[in-house]
């Protein structure tokens, strides 16, 4: 390969993408005029560029944006627990109403923190204890071996206690370690990726 050909080949990608300097452009144009076979190299480089451009995805859909926002929101700290303060009663009872209202709020907050966010009622203890915490019903066509499902289960340190299939849909019964932290993340990840059809929380049963 001649030095001129090598210089031509090395400049060609930037000639094709339009960022080449004027001086180098003049060289490439002159080379193309003098060497007929060089046009084939130019055509091939243009094919490469056109194909790389096709890697752009189709237009972003609104549901993709909503899924991403939903997934991001699960990582955000919950809004501080608050309830509208009761309208102060008549003068004379005011201070007692506020005190009792505040006391009730504190008890409620204590119950929320100790039981689990959003879950009222008795739950079996957290940790890998062989008791089912969650049943997942995977979306149509998604198997437990799907890399996305396996990855999500692995990240959540979930143990599959049982699995079944009915009408082409797979169900998994899971025991979760650190249920409070991992359960919402697992559900959200599978749902946002379109791998989840529905689920049932089992820890209170």
């Amino acid at each position: 390969m001649s030095a001129a050909q090598e210089r031509f080949e090395r400049l060609l990608p930037f000639y094709v993408n339009g960022t080449i300097s004027e001086q180098d452009r003049a060289f490439v144009d002159e080379y193309l005029g003098q060497v007929p076979q060089a046009a084939q190299s130019l055509a091939f480089t243009q094919s490469l560029r056109a194909t790389v451009k096709t890697y752009a995805p189709t237009k972003l859909k609104d549901h993709q944006v909503q899924n991403m926002l939903r997934r991001w929101s699960t990582t955000q700290p919950a809004a501080p627990f608050s309830a509208p303060m009761a309208k102060p009663p008549q003068r004379g009872w005011f201070s007692w109403a506020r005190l009792s209202g505040g006391f009730a709020l504190a008890i409620a907050a204590l119950l929320v923190v100790t039981i689990a966010p959003g879950e009222w009622g008795m739950l079996h203890p957290d940790g890998l204890d062989g008791k089912p915490d969650l049943e997942l019903r995977l979306a149509n066509g998604v198997s437990p071996d799907h890399p996305g499902v396996k990855n999500a289960l692995q990240k959540s340190n979930a143990v599959v206690l049982a699995q079944s299939e009915q009408d082409g849909k797979h169900s998994l019964t899971l025991d979760l370690d650190d249920r409070v932290r991992t359960q919402p993340t697992l559900i959200d990840e599978l749902a946002s990726n379109g791998h989840l059809d529905s689920y049932t929380l089992l820890a209170s049963e």
């Binding site: 960022t19 084939q40 091939f44 056109a50 194909t51 890697y55 991403m68 890399p147 990726n193």
Partner: protein, 199 residues
């Protein structure tokens, strides 16, 4: 040896968006996601063949960005930083799937001269979709550094100087990667065309 980019003033718009993301503003999250989704997707698609994995990795890239929005210091362009996250997640996925990223290396000068001295494959007789299918197949076989060079030059349409800064390498290295990539692509395409003509 990679050279360090000097710290540059962060683009004001992106700085504002990152600050709002760090404060938990969903509108800023949506804005960044919409603005950079195409670029991140194209980058990941050029590294990972598994289309199912691409969507997951793309979303993982953005989740990593949102959780570390306050850590961007402007040592590089924002897009370079963002795609650096994408590159790492792609490599992690490939390792997890027991497919090591193809580091690659370049053919010897003698082999390269042999490849370059042959005629370039003619593709004008094929339909556009056929061309794309064959070229994509061959592109998926390139070493990852060469694929990345093709991405910055043909998808992002950077100059040789900007590509060199982005990849933290010399301009000559960028040209070499493209030069080798094109030669390998041409050889691969010719083999595919020969196979298809026999079939």
């Amino acid at each position: 040896m990679p050279f360090a980019s000097p710290a540059r003033p962060i683009d004001e718009e992106i700085a504002s968006l990152l600050e709002r993301i760090a404060q938990g503003d969903p509108a800023a999250v949506e804005s960044v996601y919409r603005q950079y989704y195409g670029t991140v997707s194209a980058f990941v698609r050029m590294q990972i063949v598994d289309s199912g994995a691409v969507e997951e990795i793309v979303d993982d890239v953005f989740m990593a960005l949102f959780s570390s929005a306050s850590q961007f210091r402007g040592q590089s362009a924002f897009k370079t930083w963002l795609l650096g996250i994408a590159r790492n997640l792609c490599h992690n996925w490939l390792r997890q799937m027991s497919r090591e990223p193809v580091a690659g290396l370049d053919v010897s000068d003698a082999e390269l001269a042999g490849l370059m001295d042959q005629a370039w494959p003619a593709l004008d007789h094929l339909q556009r979709q056929q061309v794309q299918a064959i070229v994509r197949l061959c592109l998926d076989r390139l070493p990852h550094p060469q694929r990345e060079a093709l991405f910055w030059v043909f998808f992002e349409e950077l100059s040789v100087e900007d590509t060199a800064k982005t990849l933290a390498c010399a301009a000559g290295t960028v040209k070499s990667r493209l030069f080798h990539a094109k030669a390998k692509m041409a050889d691969c395409v010719k083999r595919r065309l020969a196979l298809e003509s026999v079939a």
